[in-house]
Amino acid sequence: MTTVDTSKSGGAHGGHGGHGHHGSYLEPRSSFLATIWDWATTVDHKKIGVMYLFAVLFLFFVAGVLALMVRTELLTPVRFVDGKVVGQELFSLFYPGEEATSVNKGNTVYNRIFTLHGAIMVFMVIVPSIPSSLGNFFLPLMIGAKDVAFPKLNLLSWYIYVIGSLFGIAAITQGGVETGWTFYTPYSSNTDFGQVTLMVLAAFILGFSSILTGLNFVVTVHKLRAPGMGWFDMPLFVWATYATAIIQVLATPVIGITLLLLCLERVFKIGIFDPALGGDPVLYQHFFWFYSHPVVYVMILPGMGIISDVLAVQSRKHIFGYKAIAFSSLGIAAVSFLVWGHHMFTSMGEIASVVFSGLTFLVAIPTAVKVFNWISTLYKGTIALNTPMLYVLIFLFLFSIGGLTGLPLATMSTDMHLHDTYFVVAHFHYVMMGGTIMALMAGLHHWWPKMFGRMYNEFGGMVGAILVFVGFNVTFFTQFFLGTQGMPRRYASYVTEFQTLHQISTVGSFILLLGFLVHLFVFIHSLMAGAKAPKNPWGGLTLEWVADSPPETHNFPHEPLVKNGPYDFESTVPPHWDPKDYPLENAGAHKH
């Protein structure tokens, strides 16, 4: 064994749990219904992770379709021709049979669609994406545990997530919401349009799911590490997930009370956020961003964890600056709580704005520490340029652009010009999509063989990755230009000078769609006809590669005993070793 000694039980094992082979966690039950029931009532973190993964990917598809509708509408500016509205033909689907004589209807549909895109992407896709799917699956495996600390609670958070998403879908089908995903008051508290209360409740419920998952992970990391695994023997994905979990636990309750007060405001008119009743709408923004800014790091930190692990394995080199990366995760988590004010530069005093601007720059430091360490890891590494690695490189490229374009937004003088323009839209898409989603894709390809026991088609994966990369840049890089030229965000129409850039952006979004469809096809093909995956296709040294592909129900036949660090490639892997040549069973390994 490379990393661990699984041949004898780890001593303090309590004497129960896997003796003999259990079979893969994916093994179906006696009948179809029994299998469904088994999955619906499972407390196995792997099954729950897979269920999250498919739910998240489905909602990602839904939100993607909504984004494409937005982009399609923006192909041409809205204008009147012979007293009829032209440029919003797509939206006539939403009010069939009626002829559009004013832009109001189309604009309302536009507002609804971008709100739903944002709300679904933030609350239902990006926040739970990596922690709840890959985190759930791999956190216990990576620390050599049989499950998360509270398996039933884990199942409960899954059901809360489903209920929250159903509330969201109900809100969409019952009229939708047009407040934007931030639900700013007093518009959100006073508007009669649509189902704001339902959507806000959905976000509230999803918050509970997030809290419970985070709580579970913190306790898991503290209490369930395998014998021999100290804090600094943990893979960096575990560190990142741990930092994420702390933010989830500490930030989410604040959005909970905020959304609850917003619901009370709408139902009982308590007026806390309504200036007409003596309330303060800026207080809503403070509350909202006190959660929603840290949550930006809930979105990106697990992605950074994936990058650290995939990058080290695929370039077969000890990660450069292990502790620097681990502590920068915690540093980002800490700073994340101090920067919320940069969303309200115009509604705070001068001194507060300067302070928040300065604190915002601080985030760049731990982030840059990570990026430099990743690039240093690549230096003289044995880089395997496959789909996960390609996505890592895409991440580094896109995330650096996303991070650096954050700086002019943190600088007050430039922010005055760029605020609420497409520059902001491009910036956060580079971070959220170019960061988190690209990291998710890297992790998904890297761990796909482990999760489902089958290899994916490497050529297909590469083609998909290249299409996504090209499509993404064509879509969003143009938006930096649009923003600096003054195109405001959230507008259904624009002056004709912007049309060329908007059209390039729209073409890019369809290339992006094509890329993801290629990935979908590759994944389906892999599940149906993929080659059987070996235990350790990439030569990783972390514990999940010791488990079977796919892992058995209890993860490991015996509790693993950690003998070497997660990235000790130099001491455990022979030079020029290729995973295809022979399995890595014989490489001797000693801790440090």
């Binding site: 499950d147 509270f150 369930l224 500490l250 309750p253 604040v254 007026g271 209890h554």
Partner: protein, 263 residues
């Protein structure tokens, strides 16, 4: 273990077994590790509860700063004696809760059950006092006839009174102290008094909801204790119900002076 679905068998976490036979869930090395983890998890959960109420306290502080006159007027409408009585009730219940945990740890089950019952009774009393003597009169102007302050208010009432359901009496001009737009109290001096009531009702109602959830937890512990599920070697359920109850108490300890005592 040769059974395929052993996951489920190991997951009972003491669901239907006497405490002596309690076996920790399959993914823990020992029962004490499991207990430590449960406690750590629950403390984290309590942190989220504190942050949840943090929003209310923050709103209190900001609006107090924005509308000090409204805060003065609003808080003077609260009777510190009812708040004080409820504080005593909750403190007593916290003591009996702690005593019942100690009793379970030392195997004195009758004593534990007695203390749990007193805790439950105090919880009910808290909610009853809150509803009968505070929420109902302020919201609607209907006073419970045994309310000692009724005589005072009747004397000061604008116009007569009407009996209601035998147990309640209506005092004209007293009610209508409601949050936000629902505010109809005719004698408010400061236009922002409805804000005060918004914060008052949000805070105390959210707290009362936590009291009720705490009572449900304690009732569950009481029933499981009756079935012999807890004892000196296994009592995590009792302990976390206790932790939750102390949190409920703690939040009231902050709400009480902020709402009732300072003007």
């Amino acid at each position: 273990m040769s059974t395929v679905n052993s996951t489920h068998e190991h997951q009972s976490s003491g669901g239907g077994v006497p405490y002596k036979k309690y076996k920790h869930a399959h993914h823990w090395r020992s029962q004490s590790e499991e207990f430590d983890a449960v406690k750590l998890g629950f403390w984290l959960f309590l942190a989220t509860e504190v942050l949840l109420f943090g929003g209310i306290f923050c709103a209190y502080a900001i609006f107090r700063m924005m509308h000090p006159e409204a805060w003065k007027e609003g808080s003077s409408a609260l009777d510190w004696r009812w708040g004080g009585l409820n504080t005593v009730v909750l403190l007593l219940s916290s003591y009996t809760m702690a005593a019942s945990i100690f009793a379970v740890q030392t195997g004195q089950f009758a004593r534990a059950k007695r203390n749990l019952l007193i805790t439950l009774f105090c919880g009910c009393l808290f909610v009853a006092i809150k509803m009968t003597f505070e929420y109902i009169p302020k919201w609607s102007g209907f006073f419970f006839i045994l309310d000692p302050s009724l005589a005072t208010y009747k004397a000061a009432a604008v116009e007569g009174k009407t009996a209601f359901m035998g147990l309640f009496q209506y005092v004209e001009g007293y009610g209508g102290k409601r949050p936000g737009e629902l505010f109809t109290h005719p004698f408010a001096k400061d236009p922002n008094v409805p804000m005060w009531w918004s914060v008052y009702y949000s805070g105390t109602a959210l707290h009362a909801l936590h009291v009720i959830i705490g009572m449900i937890l304690i009732a569950r512990v009481y029933i499981k204790l009756g079935k012999g599920h807890y004892g000196p070697t296994y009592y995590s359920g009792v302990e976390i119900a206790g932790l939750y109850w102390h949190l409920v108490d703690l939040i009231w300890i902050f709400l009480f002076p902020l709402l009732y005592l300072i003007h």
